[in-house]
């Protein structure tokens, strides 16, 4: 069974790529076949955090149809079983991916022959990021224990909900008043609560279905750059609040301690968990990786991918 984890979180600079590289390496070291994909289109630098030079091939070759299968552009890393798909070579306009290309990439990701697929998403809540986030039924949000970052958590969750609702509600069978509520043309931005209210007015029978759709998605939360003396219960509190006030299931995976050496590792372009396996931050990452794999043993023997 393949597990896909899109990793987003709204705010920039919170360490998404760092966490993706670290989790990917740890899970691969336990014998699982892992691929990490840089989907921060137009601002990709996951390769640096993996301790790699610019990879020779990437997503571009799949988009321009040089290769037929997405796995053909996965390159090996310094960690056995850990592969990497870069978006480094994509065109300078790749950030504005064509809708058809996006759908093609999403469906190819869902078919990749790996045990774990980690998607490193870009900052913000643009359509590409949200759609890549919805590649799976569960995703990981990364933030820091700061007001701005937590604010972006909620913003991101609301944007994901809005995207899910919009995709359903724009279909023809819905009343135009409902459609208006989810189109950009509407004057005031509507929240999930408001949209569901409008739906219950015109299509009372559809409300439960919509709520179920929202509750199908599972969110996992990580707080990075955690410093001593901060409230270590913050993540649990966010989990509690989200479980109560949003429709989905939320699980707090843990805090990752801030470490100055992370900065050094980035500068020397090395994979942090590989170079500093015994630091507090690495051990925090390990505990999180254990929660993600639920201590599952590798099901398949590592495959050779050329």
């Amino acid at each position: 069974m393949t597990e896909i984890y899109p990793i987003g979180g709204g705010k920039g600079g919170v360490g998404k790529s760092f966490v993706v590289a670290g989790l990917g390496a740890l899970i691969a070291k336990w014998g699982h076949n892992v691929v990490v994909i840089d989907l921060d289109l137009g601002a990709s630098n996951l390769h640096t955090l993996l301790g790699m030079k610019r990879p020779k091939r990437g997503l571009n070759r799949y988009i321009d149809k040089t290769v037929r299968r997405l796995e053909s552009v996965a390159v090996p890393t310094m960690i056995p079983n850990l592969f990497f798909i870069s978006s480094m070579h994509c065109s300078m306009e790749i950030a504005n991916l064509l809708h058809a290309h996006k759908l093609k990439i999403i469906s190819a990701i869902q078919k990749l022959p790996f045990d774990y697929i980690l998607l490193d998403l870009g900052t913000g809540t643009n359509f590409n990021t949200l759609d890549f986030f919805l590649t799976s039924k569960e995703g990981i949000l990364i933030g820091t224990p700061e007001p701005t970052s937590i604010e972006n958590f909620f913003r991101f969750i609301s944007a994901v909900y809005f995207r899910i609702l919009k995709q359903t509600l724009k279909r023809s069978e819905f009343h135009s008043a409902v459609k208006d509520a989810v189109t950009e043309m509407s004057s005031a931005p509507a929240g999930t609560h408001d949209i569901l209210k409008i739906v219950s007015k015109y299509h009372p029978d559809k409300v439960t279905d919509l709520k179920n759709k929202l509750s199908e998605f599972k969110f996992k939360l990580i707080l990075n750059q955690f410093r001593k003396n901060m409230d270590s219960t913050l993540g649990n509190k966010i989990e509690t609040v989200c479980n109560r006030h949003f429709h989905s299931n939320f699980q707090f995976l843990g805090n990752i301690r801030y470490d100055g050496q992370i900065h050094d590792a980035v500068f020397s372009r090395t994979l942090y968990v590989h170079k500093y396996p015994h630091t507090q931050s690495s051990s925090d990452l390990k505990k999180i990786a254990e929660k993600i794999t639920r201590n599952r043993r590798p099901t398949s023997l590592p495959k050779e991918i050329s």
Partner: protein, 218 residues
Amino acid sequence: MKYFDGLNYYEILKIPENSSFLEIKQAYRDAVSIYGEDSLVTYSLFSTDEREKILKIIETAFLTLIDGNQRAAYDRMLMDSGQSDTKFISGQSQKQSQPVFDPGKAANDDPLAADATKQIQADEEKQLSDEILSKSSVSGNDLKKLREALGVEIHEIHSLTRISVSVLNAIEENRLESLPPDTYLRNFLKLYAEVLQIDPLKIVDGYFKHISMVQNTD
């Protein structure tokens, strides 16, 4: 966004229906730390109106459950409307002398998510209670220290146990001349210990030992 629709007061405070006085108090503090105005967790999630509404509900839940009579009436209402498990009848099966300082309970099974601040606080409380319980004699001052460490007010003990405040003060201040006869005192100390969820036997014995020590030195 969902609010507290359909949740009863216990669910709102996230506590079981047989929660003790101390657990209710702690749950209320936790809820305020999440939904309070300065809370880092929710300040960007709710508007002022929403927050006020939520805090009002939490306060009502707390004030109802912390008052013995109101809680009993509320429990009856829950039971009559079929929302409650009939096993729990407030006052009868309410947890009383379960030690809150159970070391197994303090050790969180998830070290990453462990509540460090709470842990430190719990450790301090445990240390204090261990210290007091390990002494062969327990003075009124010891009881007072422990009560204050747990954040329990004297009038709260009064409203739960119906022991008059003047007697409670006399116990804590070791004013032997103002203490009630031994049979009453024994019972009062037991109730006092139960509210603080510490071993009543040790407290009763320790306190009587303390009294006899003081009398002998006179």
